[in-house]
């Protein structure tokens, strides 16, 4: 005769599951009003269903999700944060060779990474400060040069490989006692009930005995942060629409070696078909490696991907007008479609979007991740502000303040990027005249240049 105890005996319960601790945990929730913690009149502790309670669940352990977890946890040590990543592992940085996916970190992003204690590890691994930026119009005569000396700064920013930043942040997060990073957590069921998000992962390992119920652990949190990138599941779950622009361009990325030193300069050439950027890399001995980001119209991109290495190198040489000498190109090329995407809202009931989940911009100026890290900083500020005022952690007023502060800013950048793109994409003569004279005029005006640099550096 079956009874409940038989089922207990087969290990559905584990001794370390947190059920029964629920009421106790609630008392530690910062800002959470505690009226919900009334004991049910049943005295025995509930069993069977395993649940883990956090104050904040962050979906996505990319650069933005990791930074968000690190910043919240550092500033508010009482917050319990669950950082949930669908991928089973975070790839380590390759030793001895550069990776093609890079970011241009502004001073503001650097400060954030310094605050959480990741910058030191990034600097110890590899990064390249860039002191100058040279931009020119390959079709005309316009050119512009930005130098850090013009604003009395040691550099304009740093080019760092994505994975260097991600791994540094991961180390930080793993040493924070109040963050629990879980890899391979693919949320299958989402629901909000009693002001809590319930996240149930897909169970990867079905039990051998079909008769047994499969119980996966549920993560519960009053606030859900979607840091799960451009194709955000959190955004879908909140039924937030996006405004999309397909640029009908692909970004081709790879790493090349140039004959001449890059001189700690970011080089950008505007071709009619899109900009080509040479972003300087350093840390592995020489100053002759650059990461290429070539944004090209779809047709050309297809062609560029099919070229053999020496032919692709020739195209690059032509694009730079020989400024970096001959180009050597032996590493695989990756491509991804360029889209601008902006979520119509950043917030839902107890949920908020940050980074690419909220906005995707043309990677032209390497601004994307800086905007994401800005979201991270502002959201942390607002959550801290709310907790000081004894508001619950996911209070609508906190989320609305975050959205007000970030959405307009991101919108402006998105707009600027797409204007920039159409300015250089147009072949018409008056556009060309405008940009040539425009670039040269700006180049001749130190004050205007200074303001542009400061804005780009987010100082």
């Amino acid at each position: 005769m079956a009874n409940g105890n038989d089922r207990n005996a087969v290990g559905i319960n584990s001794t370390d599951s947190v059920e029964g601790k629920v009421a106790k945990d609630q008392q530690h929730l910062p800002g959470e009003t505690d009226k919900g913690a009334v004991q049910a009149s049943g005295t025995e502790e509930p069993e069977m269903i395993k649940r883990r309670r956090a104050d904040i669940a962050i979906i996505g352990a990319g650069m933005v999700g990791l930074a968000q977890a690190a910043l919240l946890a550092t500033r508010m040590p009482k917050l319990k944060i669950a950082l949930l990543e669908a991928a089973a592992e975070i790839a380590p940085t390759t030793e001895g060779d550069y990776e093609a996916r890079v970011v241009a970190l502004t001073r503001a992003s650097q400060s954030l990474l310094e605050e959480v204690g990741a910058w030191e590890a990034i600097a110890a691994q590899r990064l390249c400060p860039y002191t100058d930026m040279r931009v020119w119009d390959a079709d005309g005569t316009g050119r512009i040069h930005f130098g850090c000396r013009e604003i009395g700064e040691p550099n304009l920013g740093h080019i760092v490989e994505n994975s260097v930043v991600v791994n540094a942040l991961r180390d930080v997060v793993e040493n924070l006692p109040n963050v629990e990073l879980e890899l391979g957590f693919r949320t299958e069921h989402w629901w909000r009930d009693c002001k809590l998000w319930n996240l149930q992962p897909r169970s990867e390992f079905p039990r051998l005995d079909d008769e047994l119920p499969q119980m996966s652990e549920i993560v519960q949190a009053p606030l859900l942060i979607g840091a799960d990138g451009a194709r955000s599941q959190v955004r879908d779950q909140l039924q937030i629409e996006t405004e999309d622009t397909d640029y009908q361009q692909q970004a081709i990325v790879t790493v090349v070696r140039t004959e001449k030193d890059h001189a700690n300069t970011a080089w950008q050439s505007f071709l009619k078909t899109g900009p080509v950027a040479f972003l300087p890399l350093a840390g592995l001995g020489d100053l002759q490696h650059s990461a290429i980001v070539w944004s090209a119209d779809d047709d050309l991109a297809q062609e560029l991907l099919l070229l053999d290495d020496s032919a692709f190198a020739l195209y690059l040489e032509r694009a730079t007008g020989g400024r970096l000498g001959t180009v050597e190109c032996s590493r695989p090329r990756q491509s991804f479609p360029l889209r601008a995407r902006h979520a119509q809202s950043y917030i839902g009931d107890g949920a908020v979007l940050v980074g690419d989940a909220a906005h995707n911009i043309h990677p032209l100026a390497g601004q994307g991740v800086n905007l994401g890290l800005r979201d991270v900083a502002v959201l942390a500020e607002e959550i801290q502000r709310g907790l000081k005022r004894n508001l619950p952690v996911g209070d609508p007023s906190t989320l609305k303040r975050y959205q007000r502060r970030r959405r307009a800013d991101n919108m402006a950048t998105l707009k600027a990027m797409s204007n920039f793109k159409s300015l250089f994409g147009e072949g018409a003569l008056h556009w060309r005249w405008l940009r040539n004279t425009g670039l040269n005029m700006v180049d001749a005006s130190p004050l205007l240049k200074k303001r542009i640099i400061m804005r780009a550096m987010a100082i």
Partner: protein, 233 residues
């Protein structure tokens, strides 16, 4: 022999963790709950009364009865749904006493101790429904109210509840219902009389797949139906 079907219990165990996902597998239960709760409250006035919910599952009805001021005990044989119910009560602050026990066993321990006994969407999941009805009759105080609901056994009910709800609309997990266990109103009526209870009212519950709205409809007991009975003084 306990009046429990282990395979029926297992079905609910598997899904138990999502019991309070209002757009998940148990959505229909959440959708019809206000209707059932209103019906029961209107006919029995639950505030301040001792109420027993037999087959309480994750506690959807039990909590709503507690919210209306009843002193609620919920019993179920599924361990997982019960722990979901207990955990949920901690979160919502509802005061419900949940116990893993059969109605028959409780009837032996605490006869005539409840003002209201509810047993909704449960009879079609046990081997011997008549025995549950007898136990409910024993549990309620003389003069008390009882409510039963279940699914009719006819072609239309099969079409709606099994094909419609489980397969076409995917409203319920497949295998939730077995047609053979559905109960005709005539059978229900016979068991009620045999248990010494008096039928007060019967109403149908209809679902409009186009408007996605549920409503109580007197006279249409073709699919789901809800009965109100009393135990004579």
């Amino acid at each position: 022999m306990r009046n429990v079907d282990q395979s029926e219990i297992a079905k609910f165990e598997q899904l138990a963790s999502r019991w309070w996902d209002k757009s998940g597998e148990f959505k229909p239960l959440h959708d019809i709950n206000p209707l059932r709760a209103n019906y029961i409250d209107a006919r029995a006035g639950v505030a301040g009364k001792k109420l027993l919910d037999v087959g309480c599952g994750g506690g959807i009805l039990a909590e709503s009865m507690a919210q209306r001021g009843a002193e609620v005990t919920g019993i179920d044989m599924g361990e997982a749904p019960l722990s979901v119910a207990k955990l949920h009560a901690l979160e919502s602050g509802a005061k419900v006493d949940y116990r893993q026990i059969t109605a028959e066993e409780l009837a032996e321990q605490e006869p005539e101790s409840f003002d209201v006994v509810t047993c909704l969407e449960m009879l079609e999941h046990v081997p011997d429904p008549a025995s549950v009805i007898r136990a409910c009759a024993a549990l309620v105080k003389p003069g008390g109210n009882l409510f039963f609901s279940t699914i009719n056994r006819n072609a239309k009910a099969w079409l709606f509840a099994v094909v419609g709800a489980e397969y076409v609309m995917k409203m319920l997990p497949k295998g939730t219902h077995e047609y053979g266990k559905f109960i005709r109103p005539s059978e229900m009526g016979q068991w009620i009389r045999e248990a010494g209870l008096e039928l007060q009212h019967i109403t149908g519950m209809t679902y409009n797949p186009l408007t996605k709205a549920y409503k109580l409809k007197e006279g249409d007991v073709d699919v789901n139906y809800l009965v109100h009975v009393t135990r004579p003084e």
